[in-house]
């Protein structure tokens, strides 16, 4: 994947249309309804690959809804209607021929509360692989061991867990659990990782270390992160999207959005006047 596009290189902001091929996620006129309640209004946004994009805005502004429509996990509730198109790597994920397991293989997700599955650390890491690989092709035990080791190494969990891989994942600390939740996405080689307030359940040290980790991952993935924490948005993201009442208000490189917001609403929010 082309990793030359960085936030610094593109001061114009992503709202300006660019070559479609370069965008990782591209939505056009997305309206989303929960039953009769409209949660998103005409959302059109382009999210670049290999940077971290933060979704910010007051509670109920639709940022989590938008995030959860990128892997269509919000359809679980049954009464969700989505209109418009969301293209991920050039393919509209709302097309009829899209397979949800395949979509979710390339669009991973990390949740607000660490949610490792109630199985061993080892099995958590290869859970996705087991789903996506027919049994005979799953490889020998040794191959799986290597996959688990490299995934855990990437999130700096290998040293603490190498002797307890068979332990239940829920015995780890919250910070370790959240790192595990990131690690289990890696064997699937996703292109996009969605993060829904990934640090909100962690203490200060945990936040710092998980942010570092996320920041390292950006080189290989497109990361979209919902956050309530302005400090985190400022520290950890390259671009920010400010949402309010289901609409995109402003999308700009982080420094620009915080120093020099175009919209007054954005300014009020980041100054903490509401939200």
């Amino acid at each position: 994947m082309d990793s030359s596009t960085t936030s610094q290189a593109n001061p114009a902001g992503a709202s300006a249309p660019e070559g479609a091929g370069q965008m990782s996620i591209r939505t056009r006129d997305v309206d989303l309804f929960y039953g009769d309640f409209q949660a998103l209004f005409g959302v059109s946004v382009d999210i670049k690959p290999n940077i971290i994009t933060s979704l910010i805005g007051p509670s109920g502004c639709g940022k989590t809804t938008l995030l959860r429509s990128f892997n269509r996990i919000n359809e679980r509730y049954g009464n969700v209607t989505t209109r418009g198109t969301i293209e991920i790597l050039g393919k509209n994920i709302y097309d009829a021929d899209v397979s949800l397991p395949e979509l979710r293989k390339s669009v991973g997700m990390v949740f607000q509360r660490p949610n490792p599955l109630p199985i061993s650390i080892y099995e958590n890491i290869i859970f996705g692989l087991r789903s996506h690989t027919p049994k005979p092709e799953l490889g020998r035990r040794g191959d799986l061991d290597d996959i688990v080791e490299s995934a855990l190494r990437e999130v700096q969990l290998w040293e603490v867990t190498k002797n307890r891989l068979k332990d239940r994942a829920t015995t780890l600390t919250l910070e370790q659990q959240q790192k595990l939740c990131i690690a289990r996405l890696l064997p699937l080689k996703p292109q996009v990782i969605l993060m829904d307030e990934p640090c909100s359940a962690l203490d200060a040290d945990g936040i710092e270390r998980v942010e570092e980790l996320i920041s390292e991952l950006r080189e290989r993935f497109t990361i979209v992160m919902v956050t309530h924490n302005m400090g985190q948005a400022k520290r950890a993201s390259d671009e920010c999207i400010y949402m309010y009442l289901g609409k995109i208000i402003e999308h700009a490189p982080t420094a620009e959005l915080f120093l020099n917001p175009r919209e007054e609403q954005t300014a009020m929010y980041i100054e903490g006047r509401y939200g």
Binding site: R104, R113, N115, L117, P118, S131
Partner: protein, 309 residues
């Protein structure tokens, strides 16, 4: 004026309540302990009735011989109490009924908890509870009058009241129990597990058997064990639908269960005679089986709670 009155009445009420407190406490205390007392009394009574014969029971014959002849036709012969066929009957009905009830009950629980939504879900839950409310005599009746000819016709067997019929009826009785407990334990699985599995690209079915079942394992086990308890203890439907012959019968043979033996033969005994006491021995064995099942399922459920807290 009126306000003064009501407040003084209220004050009087609360003073009375203060007085009554020790009494209320006492009543609650006694009610709590009475359940223990009752259980102890049941054990005492059953053991007392069987006591005179307990020392002389030929346990080898009781457990391993199928010769239940309490009243031999030849008066010179001694009665024989080999209950193996009867114990087998209870065992066989339990196993076959659970083979039917567990998959069906679990499937129904999965459907209600994971697939049904809104009205369908509510209606199904009410129907399951309704199914649990059907008295066992009605099931016996259904087995005897409706199921028996159907079994004869479908399977081309001579006798419609048999192991299969009784097991089917017991299964229908155990299913609501299994469904409601399994459903509770599936519902208790945190939603975040479902989202985690689905977000990793698992299909719904994979999510169910690779995440929900292991997570709800203890609750599902408890449901199964309570189902077994139901099957072991069921009397009326089993009596009516099983055919009542003590033998090591196969699926379409008549069998006889421990419960049904006690119920059907008690009227033939004289209070306190050997036959009467032997029926109580069967009762003791049954009681012990049920206690073991209950204690086991209790331990399993406790395990669930510990893990959740």
């Amino acid at each position: 004026m009126a306000d003064g009155k009501t407040s003084s009445i209220r004050a009087l009420g609360s003073r009375l309540l203060d007085r009554a407190e020790p009494l209320i406490k006492g009543v609650i205390y006694v009610s709590g302990w009475s359940s223990i007392l009752f259980v102890a009394a049941i054990f005492f009574f059953i053991f007392k009735e069987a006591a005179p014969v307990l020392s002389s029971v030929d346990w080898g014959s009781f457990f391993f011989e199928n010769r239940w002849i309490p009243n031999p036709a030849d008066e010179n012969k001694a009665p024989s109490y080999g209950a193996a066929g009867i114990i087998y009957g209870t065992f066989a009905i339990t196993v076959v009924s659970m083979l039917i009830a567990m998959p069906l009950g679990l499937a129904a629980a999965v459907y209600i908890s994971e697939f049904a939504t809104g009205k369908t879900k509510e209606i199904l839950k009410i129907l399951v509870e309704l199914l649990a409310a059907i008295p066992s005599i009605i099931w016996g009746f259904i087995g005897l009058v409706i199921m028996s000819p159907i079994i004869q016709w479908v399977f081309g067997v001579e006798v419609g009241v048999n192991l299969f019929n009784a097991s089917l009826m017991v299964a229908f009785m155990a299913i609501p129990l299994i469904v409601s407990i399994s459903e509770d334990s599936l519902r208790a699985v945190p939603d975040s597990y479902r989202e985690a599995a689905l977000a990793l690209g698992a299909s719904r079915w994979e999510m169910i058997y690779r995440v929900l079942f292991p997570a709800a394992k203890n609750g599902l086990l408890a449901a199964a064990m309570l189902g077994v308890g139901r099957a072991v203890g069921e009397t009326m439907a089993v009596w009516m639908a099983s055919g009542g012959t003590e033998q090591f019968g196969l699926l379409f043979d008549r069998v006889k269960a421990m419960t049904a033996t006690i119920a059907s033969e008690m009227k033939d005994t004289a209070h306190g005679d050997e036959h009467y006491q032997m029926l109580f021995v069967i009762g003791i064995v049954l009681l012990i089986i049920c206690v073991i099942i209950n204690v086991l399922s209790d331990l399993v459920i406790k395990g669930v709670k510990k893990k959740h807290s």
